[in-house]
């Protein structure tokens, strides 16, 4: 433990309202602490900025998974374990369950939360690419406001996001899906080892075919840019069109311009770029093989 503990102040509010009041009194001062799977690591390493922390773990208003008019609403404190074990999510949003199962290992999955994974803002986070493919929305709450924003666009830069002082993520909303039962859900986490890995590339894609053409396609990646990234231009290359090899090559070329991977201690720019293109191509090849109705 390298942190100087007297430099840290933590409080445990009894309710969501108490938490929001505390944050409203001193906007921008309090950092919410949920599962702590990143914050506690930084604390032990002596790299957590000293300041005030609000432990919201266990607040019932931020917990639980429920269905609501066809959509699914996940409380921000839903743990990876809860996601992983939900049969309903496994049926409807399988990539989210795969992402939760690929995060850390059992101990991390017991504590880590979906909301924490989002506001921690890591471009290498495992669940956000799946959320992007499922067109997730976030419900943000403060003492003064409740607002709903699309998740795509929430991250504005490396570790920056559209979250106002005094605001918490209340829930993550997954809309009903329109792709139909034949859709291909394709999720790959590339992290060298099988568990306890920080991603080098996360690739999530969702697609369906109709009459030999791509009916719908969403592609999102992690660890290849300052934020997790929905790759709309790449999607545009294939949507509505047949997936011949030339089209697949064009998609890979466009993907290359959409991502901006870097060299760091975990991997190289070249590797991340090549793996992203390979996985895209593999996804498209498998998607083409599904054919789809009317084929």
């Amino acid at each position: 433990m390298r942190a100087y503990l007297p430099a840290y102040h933590a409080e445990v509010p009894g309710s969501l309202r108490a938490a929001l009041e505390t944050m409203a009194r001193e906007p921008g001062v309090w950092t919410p602490l949920a599962g702590g799977t990143d914050i506690m690591v930084l604390l032990a390493a002596g790299r957590l900025p000293p300041g005030k922390y609000l432990s919201i773990r266990g607040l019932p208003e931020l917990s639980g998974i429920r269905e609501e008019q066809g959509a699914v609403v996940l409380g921000a404190l839903t743990t990876y374990r809860e996601v992983r074990r939900s049969a309903m999510l496994g049926r409807r949003y399988p990539m989210l369950c795969l992402a939760a199962a690929a995060s850390g290992a059992a101990a991390i999955q017991n504590r880590g939360t979906l909301g924490g994974n989002i506001v921690n803002g890591s471009p290498a986070a495992d669940t956000p690419p799946a959320l992007l493919c499922y067109d997730a929305e976030l419900e943000l709450i403060s003492m003064a406001t409740v607002r709903r924003v699309p998740y795509d666009g929430f991250h504005t830069g490396y570790k920056t996001m559209d979250l106002r002082p005094g605001e918490l993520v209340r829930s993550v909303r997954l809309p009903a899906r329109a792709e139909g039962a034949g859709a291909l859900h394709y999720y790959r986490k590339v992290g060298t080892r099988s568990a306890q890995a920080i991603s080098k590339v996360v690739f999530a894609a969702l697609g369906s075919m109709e009459g030999g053409r791509v009916r719908a396609c969403r592609i999102a990646l992690g660890s290849v840019a300052p934020t997790v990234l929905r790759c709309r231009r790449t999607e545009g290359v294939v949507t509505g069109l047949p997936l011949d090899p030339a089209r697949r090559r064009e998609a890979a070329a466009v993907l290359r311009t959409e991502i901006a991977p870097i060299d760091d201690i975990r991997s190289t720019r070249a590797y991340r770029e090549r793996v992203a293109r390979n996985l895209l191509d593999d996804f498209l090849a498998r998607l083409a093989a599904t054919g789809g109705p009317g084929d």
Binding site: M1, R2, A3, Y4, L5, P6, V41, A44, A45, G46, A105, R188, V190, T192, R193, S194, A195, Q196, A197, I198, K200, V201, R256, I265, R266, S267, T268, A270, Y271, E273, R274, V275, N278, L279, D282
Partner: protein, 747 residues
């Protein structure tokens, strides 16, 4: 005589305490008045220390501060040389070199204080690679950056090469590897009356610590007491480094006049302590048309880091193993350990051999490929047999039967059928996963190299008390590998009594004799033999006194005999000192002779799957067949093999130390990627037992052997799967991508 427990899976002596959580590791211990210590380290690879500043906001008068000026004796940690300072004085020669020590009762304040000590360094040019060191444009050690330079020559390698049909050249590399014992380095030093000191800590070699501490503190050995606490793994990482951390704790304790605990966290442990020596090996091999080895030339270089530490002995073991278990009459070997500006590299399971064995096994695969020969057949044609001589001229006295081991490994792994099936599968279009198989054949010398054991002259003793309780006394440490259990088994077996009657004394330099360090696969074979002799002497004494019948006894008779003996004479004590097996000779000048008393022999086969989309390699199966004499405790022995293989998988495919300007940039287990249990293959362990005449109950050394084989077998399998020429480890997906695709075009 009751049934012997040797060869049985008896419960571990310390197992229950560990499982129940009663075992007290050093960080569990709290002594009255104890302070905590921390180390302030250099922030440059090399340079002159201009000033040490103590920043504002810290009550410095409350802290104990130790610098090189506070060292009462010599300021170096004695090992093979005296070049490594205990605390840097004037200059620093690597990142994270210790400069200032601090102690205080409040650990949190201490951490804040550590951040506010500024060591100002004027940088000097650093040497970061083996090539830079050999070029010698910057000299960081001695006259030429060379810690040791050994040469071996037998026969006429030049003549043999000129007459050869094929000459194959290759260069092979291995990287640094962190030991990653579960328990990080830690000690508590306690000031004793009249200036003495005692040190309790996590370590492999209590007497090494005692020998290092005396000169630093200006104390005779008898005033320095070293006690091993329950130790959570070592793998060589706690061979030499504990002397350093113990000296630091002792200096703080001496100045504070209070006990001081110094325990590293994982980051400091990875950044500052030793790792496996990186290596570069050049091979030039001449073969005839049938693939027989006519001449082998090897140039083996290891990166020793900034100070000599143990590098020359790591080098000698590596060099001796550099031609593998093969017969070749014409040999020229050169080995160098060179200085760089890295923190000193040190002992790690295998001690140079995994590096040189990786090189020779990969090189033989290259020879086979160039000749169009099957790698199995090439090896079969060249294995050592009884009566042959090794590269250093040691006569092989017992038939190793490498063919038998190889055949067993091929059968168990279904190698031949798999090789064909993998090849066929690779030809199917659209397949993104490619599979391959590979093997490695190797041997590993048990015990210290050359005349090391004779110089050590280890001693163990035995004490039989009035209730028939037997205590084994040795400084050999239980570090998770089973020392306590097997020494008790060997003793019980030799005494012909129940295993439960025998206990092993905790290593404490005030209580146990120096049975040598717990290293070099020597504990079972060498120290086990000493305790076996002690037991034999005890039986003789009791028989001579007429207390035991000559033909055998039961436990009750033994207990009664001890009771009577102790009543007459006090406790029965016996001791034994090392004696080399007959006919063993080593010439250190010519680097010729019997390098080791015995060798263990092995063949490992790996099967891998390579995902060509991500270049990730998964080891799907690993068959480990070895001959280690007799397995004293088959379950523990299999555990040693499984652990060694897992470490070998890490060495081959996962564990890469990222160096930035001489500093470890990925000093966290998040970023230094060791394999998890999910990544480890099924490890199928087979022992072929051939009792060794001079080992206890026929046992030879085992601990290091399983570290040698996995990397070459796995990389051979990846080569089989991909067709890429692969000559270095670790082979991460990024490296395999480059090897398979050449230089990746930049955008």
């Amino acid at each position: 005589m009751g049934p012997t427990c040797v060869g049985q899976g008896v419960p571990r002596k310390e197992g229950e305490a560990k499982v129940a959580g009663r075992a007290a590791y050093v960080d569990d211990l709290r002594l009255p008045g104890m302070l905590h210590g921390v180390t302030v380290r250099s922030t440059a690879a090399r340079g002159r220390i201009l000033a040490v500043g103590f920043g504002d906001g810290i009550p410095w008068d409350e802290l104990v501060v130790v610098t090189a000026r506070d060292v009462p004796g010599v300021n170096h940690v004695t090992l093979l040389d005296t070049d490594q300072p205990c605390l840097a004085d004037g200059v620093v020669n690597h990142w994270d070199e210790p400069v200032v020590l601090l102690a205080h009762a409040d650990r949190h304040l201490l951490e804040e204080a550590r951040r506010r000590v500024h060591v100002e360094v004027e940088p000097l040019p650093a040497v970061l690679t083996i090539e830079d060191s050999l070029e010698c444009r910057t000299v960081v050690w001695g006259k030429d950056n060379v810690f040791a330079d050994y040469r071996v020559e037998r026969g006429d390698p030049d003549g043999a090469r000129r007459a050869a049909v094929h000459v194959v050249v290759g260069v092979y590399r291995t990287g640094a590897q962190e030991q990653l014992y579960i328990e990080t380095q830690g000690v508590i030093a306690v000031p004793e009356p009249e200036g003495g000191i005692s040190v309790h800590g996590s370590m492999q070699c209590p007497y090494y610590v005692q020998k290092a501490l005396g000169p630093i503190l200006g104390l005779p050995p008898e005033r320095v007491r070293v006690v091993q606490t329950v130790t959570g793994g070592g793998f060589g990482g706690k061979e030499e480094y504990p002397s350093m951390i113990a000296a630091h704790a002792a200096l703080l304790a001496r100045k504070a006049r209070r006990p001081v605990k110094l325990v590293y966290d994982r980051e400091e442990d990875i950044q500052a302590t030793t790792k496996r020596h990186p290596s570069r090996t050049w091979h030039r091999t001449a073969v005839d048309a049938e693939g027989r080895l006519l001449a082998m030339e090897v140039d083996f270089v290891i990166d020793g880091g900034a100070y000599k530490t143990l590098s020359p002995v790591v080098l000698s073991r590596g060099l001796i193993h550099s031609t593998g278990p093969y017969r070749c009459e014409n040999v020229r070997l050169r080995g160098r350990a060179v200085a760089t500006s890295a923190p000193p590299h040190g002992a790690f399971r295998g001690f140079g051999a995994p590096q040189s064995i990786f090189a020779v096994e990969r090189h033989l695969d290259r020879v086979a490929r160039d000749l169009g020969l099957d790698p199995v057949e090439l090896r079969r044609r060249n294995f050592l047999h009884r009566g042959d001589r090794t590269a250093v001229g040691q006569e092989v006295r017992e038939e190793p039967d490498m063919e038998g081991l190889m055949e067993k490994a091929l059968e168990e792994s279904d190698y031949r059928a798999r090789r064909v099936a993998c090849r066929r599968a690779r030809e199917r279009p659209g397949e993104t996963v490619r599979r391959g198989v590979g093997l490695a054949a190797f041997y590993h010398g048990s015990g210290f190299t050359g005349s090391g054991e004779v110089h050590l002259a280890s001693v163990a003793s035995l004490e039989c008390g009035p209730e028939g309780r037997v205590e084994v006394q040795a400084s050999s440490t239980e570090i998770g590998q089973g020392t306590s259990t097997i020494l008790a088994q060997i003793t019980a077996g030799a005494l012909g009594v129940d295993y439960r009657l025998v206990e092993v004394a905790p290593p404490d330099t005030d209580r146990v004799p120096d049975s040598g360090p717990t290293v070099a696969s020597r504990t079972c074979m060498v120290v086990g033999r000493l305790v076996e002799r002690c037991a034999g002497q005890a039986l003789e004494v009791l028989r001579a006194e007429g207390l035991l019948p000559g033909g055998g006894h039961d436990d009750a008779q033994f207990v009664e005999a001890c009771r009577v003996w102790c009543a007459r004479h006090g406790p029965l004590r016996t001791h034994a000192r090392y004696e080399p097996p007959p006919g063993i000779r080593w010439d250190p000048e010519r680097f010729q002779g019997d390098a080791y008393g015995a060798y263990s022999w092995a063949v490992y086969v790996a099967r891998v799957a390579v995902d060509t989309l991500t270049w990730e390699t998964r080891v799907e199966d690993l068959v480990a067949v070895q001959e280690v004499g007799r397995a004293v405790h088959p379950l523990l022995a299999a555990g040693q093999v499984e652990g060694g293989v897992a470490q070998g998988v890490g060495f081959a495919l996962y564990e890469k130390v990222v160096w930035r300007g001489g500093r470890v940039a990925n000093a966290r287990m998040t970023d230094y990627v060791m394999p998890t249990s999910e990544d480890a293959p099924p490890i199928r362990v087979h022992f072929v037992e051939r009792p060794y005449a001079h080992g206890p109950s026929g046992a030879k050394g085992l601990g290091e052997l399983p570290m040698d084989g996995p990397a070459p077998a796995i990389i051979a399998a990846v080569e089989d799967a991909t067709g890429a020429a692969l000559d270095s480890v670790p082979l991460l997906p990024e490296d395999l991508m480059v090897a398979m695709e050449g230089v990746i075009e930049s955008r």
